[in-house]
Amino acid sequence: MATPMVLAEGVHKSFGRLEVLRGINLAVAPREVLCIVGPSGSGKSTFLRCINHLEKIDAGRLSVDGELVGYRQHGDKIYELPDREVCRKRAEIGMVFQRFNLFPHMTSLQNIMEAPMRVKGEPQKEVEQRGRALLARVGLADKVDVYPNQLSGGQQQRVAIARALAMQPKLMLFDEPTSALDPELVGDVLDVMRGLAQDGMTMVVVTHEMGFAREVGDSLVFMDGGVIVESGNPRDVLANPQHERTRSFLSKVL
């Protein structure tokens, strides 16, 4: 088997005395779309944030594309990575947030061009071309020079996806990308994500959109209380949950 894009082995994370992740084990293969579902407070966002080291894990192993996240192993010793290295690795992972988090003082195009130019040091011309192409791809070719507050939520989220894609990531993390959207705007965003999946992007998606999980997801995990309760093929898990907790959760959201 090829190196998994994401490999979690016994990942633990606590905030003070609150143990939020209590041993997460999972593997995401390249080109795979993994959907994570679960009740509020189960640690889904926290796990996602651990993957690009926005949070430090306390125990276990977490690696992306065969390299430990935030640490370097040398023999049997583990060293913390310097800030610069952590940043370099984050640059290879795209992340999309529930609340978009576009930079309000920059136009759509500037939002997209900022990181490729300043973090990766790519030439402006090239980045601009790519930026415009990405905006066209998410259906916003006419919103190039518009500030985020002049965009609808769905448009903002699509710019945010384009911004993450501009870094040409090998992995995309989505944290409830449609939860803050009006129902009629959800479709546009899901369409963009569906397109990405078809193009072979490796994706980890925290979502409450069971339809999307069923249709686009290659696998699905159900998290509760900081552990994975159940996992498998989305169609199977959603149609035929094995655990009582999964059943009661799904009966509420479906």
């Binding site: 800030d83 992340m95 930079f103 990181a115 973090v119």
Partner: protein, 328 residues
């Protein structure tokens, strides 16, 4: 029931042409206030002991003009120190390193807790306790030595007193600005691979500016006036110059008026500049930029009866728009 109340899009109802409500009391109040103001002004303007010719004579006196220049210089340099050091202190204050943040806390505690006048006097009299100043590199023989009175000129004493004090205030302003930027902004920037420094410079500070700028404008205007306290360091700023002149010719009030006219002119100019700076940093924060003073003025002349603009025209719900209204 045959006439629909809500007409279709095609047949737009006629615009309302009502006779405007009269406000007699508004007119009476306006006249009363104007009369009182005129009376007060006249009392001062026509005061028997006041010689307006002296005011005119000294308004553009070379020494006075030079004083104006020095005041502007003092203000600019002291504010530059205040903003730069203040930003540094703010970042230190927010540092995860407890030693660093405590040092910042003590600085602010000390400089905010003692009067500027005292601080100015302290720097001016530094030579009393430290007759010589030397800067050297430890363990080498490289060293610069000078008498304190040579190094700390009246101008430098004024700069130090005003600038170091201002830094304490500015650091709180900058800190409030940084805190006002949503945590999600930092996260999104970090997720894109930006280093802490770059996140601060490119993402957080530009957004913090909207919150930082209005109080900084106030601080600058306040500094322009506070710089008059520097007269005790015998630096040739506007107030010192005018007092020196009135000490010689005894036209005390006339020269106070000269100074006031200049201070007013300078603060007015600053207010104007501040307005445009705020407009610049409001981009992206509001859907529609606030009108410029010129646009407002036109509005006042030609559209007096239109309702005042609401909603999108009030972009900075913070103190920004408030003191704009006050002065513009």
């Amino acid at each position: 029931m045959s006439e629909p109340i809500v007409s279709s899009a095609r047949s737009r109802p006629e615009a309302i042409q009502a006779i405007p409500l009269r406000h007699p009391w508004r007119w009476i109040a306006a006249v009363l206030v104007l009369a009182l103001a005129a009376a007060a002004l006249y009392t001062f303007a026509a005061a028997p002991g006041l010689d307006w010719r002296v005011v005119g004579q000294y308004l553009f006196f070379p020494q006075v003009l030079h004083g104006v220049l020095v005041t502007l210089e003092l203000t600019a340099i002291a504010m530059a120190i205040g903003v730069a050091l203040g930003a540094l202190l703010a970042v230190m204050r927010l540092s995860p390193n407890p030693v660093v943040s405590t040092v910042s806390w003590f600085y602010i505690w000390f400089f905010r807790g003692t009067p500027v006048l005292v601080q100015l006097f302290f720097w001016y009299n530094l030579a009393l306790i430290l007759p010589h100043l030397s800067i050297g590199i430890p363990f080498t023989h490289i060293e610069w030595i000078g008498t304190t009175n040579q190094i700390i000129s009246p101008f430098l004493a004024a700069i130090l007193g005003l600038g170091l004090n201002e830094a304490a205030y500015m650091s709180e302003v900058v800190r409030a600005g940084i805190i006002s930027v949503e945590q999600g902004q930092t996260e999104a920037a970090q997720a894109l691979g930006m280093t802490r420094m770059r996140v601060m410079r490119r993402i957080v500070l530009p957004q913090a500016m909207r919150v930082i700028l209005p109080p900084t404008g106030n601080e600058t205007i306040s500094m322009l006036k506070t710089s008059s306290l520097a007269y005790i360091t015998t630096v040739n700023e506007l107030f010192y110059v005018t007092t020196q002149i009135s000490n010689a010719n005894f036209s005390i009030v006339e020269l106070l008026i000269v100074a006031s006219i200049w201070y007013l002119a300078m603060t007015s100019l600053l207010t104007f500049g501040q307005y445009y700076l705020e407009r610049y940093f409001a981009r992206g924060a509001s859907r529609q930029l606030p009108p410029t003073p010129l646009q407002r003025f036109r509005r006042l002349l030609f559209h007096f009866h239109d309702p005042p603009p609401v909603g999108p025209f009030e972009p900075l719900a913070t103190s920004a728009s408030h003191h704009d209204d006050r002065v513009m």
